[in-house]
Amino acid sequence: MNFQVTAGVDMPADTDRAIIGRSVPRKEDDRLLRGGGLFADDVTLAHQLEMAVARCPFPHARILRVDTTAAEALPGVVQVLDGRRVAELSEPLTVLRPVPGAPSLPYYALARDRATHEGQPVVSVVAVTRAIAEDALELIEIEYEPIPHVTDMTATLEPDAPVLHPDVLESNLMASNVDRAGEPEAQRDAAHAVLADRFVVNRVAPLPMETRGIVVSWRSGARALDVRSSTQVPHLVRKQLAESLRLDESSIRVVASDVGGAYGLKLGAFPEDILACLHAMLLERPVKWIEDRMEYFRASTHGREAFHDMMIAADKDGRITSIMNEYTTDIGGWNSPFGSSQLSSVTFTGPYRVADAQVKRNVVLTNKTPVGAYRGYGQPEVNFAREVLLDRLARRLNKSPLEMRRLNMLRPEDLPWTTPSRAIYDNGDYLRTLEMAATAVDYERHWAASRKPRGDGRIVGIGLSSFVERTGYASARFLANRGSQFGAHESVTLRVNRSGGVDLYTGVSTFGQGSETAFAQICAQVLGIDYDFVRVHAGDTGASPLNTGAFASRTLIAAAGALKEAAEAIRDKVLVIAAMALEAETDALEIRDMAVCLKADQGRSISFKDIFNRAITGQGIPEGIAPGLEATAHFEPRSASFSFGTAAAVVAVDPATGDFEIERFVMVHDCGVPVNPLLVEGQVRGALVQGLGAALDEELRYDPETGQLMNGSMMDYFAPMASDVPPIELLHTEVPSDVTPFGVRGVGEVGTIPPAAALTNAVCDALVDFGVEISQMPLTPERIWRAIRAGAAS
């Protein structure tokens, strides 16, 4: 088996009946391994046309004139739309998760008079092939007048910065929100030690291997818009399309079959979705649009870019007395469906006992590609700032960073804990993960030793990074207060079939997270049916109950409850039908091997298949019982659950060049009860490598002069390759959450959170004698080399 369970873990014993907790093979794998997945571009419809989009090449420009005559004359071109026409035909795009307190910045699928970022759609063309549509783009004349732009997050708040949306805002500050508790200023002023710094977090690309894409057809007589989309939220896309296209939701079906990676990027409707639908509706012909990689870098959404002004105050023993964090996130030129990271405010105090604290979030606009959700959504960013500053403060106090964390960490008996931003941490054992990580890398001994170069001239450093991850949402009420357009629940429909199996319908689409597998496991366990007899139908709004969708590491903690309720309802009715068939009371029955039998006489039984057929036909069921055997359940968990853990990185740094090797990376992590340990390991490792990429290399860079993206291609943007990934050791603990069904916690994003701080702390630890302090990601050898020089100079 793949999954290494290590000392300190309480795994539930595998009984032969239990399927929750087992690493069963994934439902998704066979089709994907055989080239039989169905991704957006794999669907081709008869008479289909393809769309291409002309995009603004400037960061900020007025559109003076659009002439599409020559493009329209090109043989094979069927239709061209411009911004004026699109504004007549549709409503502006809507936002799923508005920034609290911010004005809405309505924008249409095509820019009309002005574009606010490079890559913003200006004209769309459909033609018989994509190649001809792209040829046509070359023939479109668009006269732009570039106007002053701003891409830098600090400069955008200067009084002389060009204001992006002057009709609704006086400056490029879109909104500010404060959360606080206690007396953080007074505590700071009275503190023995106070440290503060600005931490700069890089703008990165989520980079799913499958780009965005849509295939849409319209039958006007039936008023039926059929949409195939690469999305993680089919039901929310349906809602947004209805709003923008002025259709009833009942006219729209959105299907996401296989989705080639999402990571938060594919969280809602984008301008191109509206455009493809408009063309299809006007022409009554199917239209396909598949984003190419150059478009992806400029016109989807980016992630993360932020700076955090973080302050930590402590008494002379190292007890944290106050944390204040004012952070600024860049949302780019428009409000994307999900907007920039919001969770820094929730987890800014991390796993520590801090009662006096304040967090302030500022959201600013710049002339760059909009920022949307990306795995972690603010948690990696704030973790970097807090954990790096904490190490610095420990060194200032002559304490080991381990000791400092130990001293301040919330104890199991402190939980549940209400944070200064009023999030409620559920139960957990944070300290155990810290001790396990420290032991794994022999931290105490390392700390006590001197930082002498080894034989190869490199100096070894170890860095710790502790974290919590919010998984799921507190409640629908919490979301309502923030204007979010979705709930905190999940839903499922179970329907038995004549072959003796169960069809499971969910609005959660499949993008690699393994939900088909995990859902089938839970269904199988509760109903007592074989895993192989559960077939999952995912991501089709025409077949699944309305739901929320797969994001915020929330799917499983909500869906588990819905699955449990629906499966119990089916099971109850199965027993009632079986009781009649076997002439027994339901209490005398048990489920075994896909059949119901008498507890006292297992020879007397009736198969599931028989029972299902009776229910489906209504023949041979008790009087007064309705025919049919299906159940739909909706479930909202009691509250969010918090995953937690500690990472430790061991690096060897060359003090002459700043080059470094990651020799070990240990992550101790708790996601409650793992429904499928193999999936958990996959989620943690995958997110971790994304976190490492952002920590080490990845950065979308804009030219300050031209305002253009400088590395917007696969050639220039370096996502980790197999040979870049350092050795990773995973250790797990398992404290069942007391607020979720089965004790599960979310796991999808946790790996992205600790790497940047663990690595930065390790490098600073190695170079402590050089006075090296690093406050900016990514952690490149050049940055380290500069810090060494700066340290030597001071």
């Binding site: 994934r26 794998d29 391994l33 055989r34 997945g37 001809i132 296989d258 040979s723």
Partner: protein, 170 residues
Amino acid sequence: MTASTNRVEISLEINGRTITQSVPVRMHAADFLRQTLGLTGTHIGCEQGVCGMCTISVDDRVVKSCLLLAVQLDGARVRTVEALSDGDRLSLLQEAFKRHHALQCGFCTPGFLAVAKSLEAWGRVLTRAEIRDEISGVLCRCTGYEGIVRAIEDYLGAVHGMSAQTEVPA
């Protein structure tokens, strides 16, 4: 006139079948496989030769099909992911991927399978570091690669009758 009316006839052996087909001269091989032949298991992620989603086997060499023109396949012997399994049964290699959770969204999987298959020709089990180097022409954003490396190591061990050393993270 537009290039799309410029067509050339090519013949090739694809997944054991010989076909003759007229193709536009400017069409790349990945589009040809996907759009003309309906072999949608080969994916496209960048059309720039970087991501490796389009990796296939041509005359027993691993190539990125987005960097080839369809006309360059004339006379070639081509294998795509669709040819890997034996009817409904997964091949040993595919089984190894499944066992080691070497795929999540699965978009990159056909590319990795093509590379993995080609490593058989080394005649031995590669070290983990060698495997990592060899598969670095294909990106995976989901798995962090560990499962892929384990699966390939396990598979090569089976093919070459050696048991791979396991459980050393690398």
